[in-house]
């Protein structure tokens, strides 16, 4: 194509000078404006934790609650929201040894203690639930952060009850906030 190396070199230089400005100058000439938020947005998430405890302490046991049951004798325990996010329901599974069955599971209103085995303090209505040992059951109830419910469990035999409480992300109160 070119008669000599010198011609080739000259051709290359000519091409370089004619192409380079076209390729680079638009990028160099583009002016940009930037706006950065005056400060970073601090973003934090809460927690949803519910657990069963023998006494009301809000201390997270990080384990299921084991209760020693006497036949047909009600025994109380607490379900607590130890997280920072309000809950709308929990899933509780009560397992019993010795082939015992659940007679009933009762609870008073939020923050209300049992007065007797069949009544709540202040005459607040008592709720009686049916449950099957070893089967997960959803309890729909509002449990805001740092609140609790007192429950009462009755089993048919002397046994050990293991009470597990789970909260799914579908069982928490959600919100849309404009601020």
């Amino acid at each position: 194509m070119f008669r000599s190396k010198r011609s080739a070199l000259l051709g290359f230089c000519a091409a370089l000078f004619s192409i380079t400005p076209l390729a680079i100058s638009p990028a160099v000439a583009a002016v940009k404006a930037t706006s950065t938020s005056p400060s970073a947005t601090s973003f934090s998430t809460g927690t949803f934790k519910a657990f069963a405890t023998a006494t009301q302490t809000f201390t997270n046991p990080l384990a299921a609650l084991a209760l020693s049951m006497a036949a047909n004798t009600p025994k109380t325990f607490f379900i607590e929201n130890g997280g920072t996010i309000d809950q709308t329901a929990i899933t509780m599974t009560i397992s019993l040894t010795a082939n015992a069955a659940i007679t009933n599971v009762r609870n008073c209103s939020r923050g209300v203690l049992f007065q007797t085995t069949t009544t709540c303090v202040g005459g607040v209505a008592l709720t009686t639930n049916t449950a099957t040992a070893g089967v997960a059951k959803v309890y729909t109830m509002s449990i805001p952060s740092n609140t609790w419910y007192q429950f009462e469990l009755t089993a048919t035999k002397n046994s050990t009850a293991t009470i597990s409480v789970a909260v799914a992300s579908t069982q928490i109160a959600t919100f849309t906030q404009n601020s």
Binding site: A33, S35, T36, T45, L62, A168, T176
Partner: protein, 223 residues
Amino acid sequence: MNKTLGITLGKTATATLIKVAIAGVAVIGGTALVSSSVFASLTATATNTSGGSVSTGTLSLTQAASGVAGITGGFTTAITAMGPGDTVNRYINLTNGGTLDAINPTLSIAATPSNALTTSATAGIQVTIKNCTVDWTAAGVCSGTQTTALATTAASALSTAAALTLPSTLAGAVSHLQIGIALPAGTENVLNGVLPGGTVQGLTTAITWTFNETERTGTTTNS
């Protein structure tokens, strides 16, 4: 026959001498003419009588929290205790305050520290941006024309600039933006108070928001 300086020359020689002399004079004269013409060339100049003013425009992009009472949180107010399924809307007015039109608006974010909130495309923060032609109300309602500036996008994808679709980026244009910051509903399950691995619960990060725009394409004007 001439007799000069005691030298006697014939007619032919005399004529030759004269010719040489004339030629010499002609050469010298010509040279002088050529030389003098260099110095004597005329120059004409035309100068505009009034100053031809040349000025450049400016490209300026600013952001400010909405001034509507109740939604002035902007990017500076902390967002706390978010949970899966929650959405917090913040309201920003993005203004092209320069004199030049702009194109290609973008948004990118930087988060510190980096954690599941900004690295998980499925469980982490999701950002949705809508534009309203007028100020949003405190209830998050657009009484003008509402458009989507950025479809729901994972924060993890916004570490590189994402294009925004704004109705106008002309000089002086103000975009009234609703920045939706959400956590997906997710599938986390907390058993007996033990948080699952990789949870988005109990995390904190700080997000810096950066908007960009580029000067409109250069123009060539004949005027």
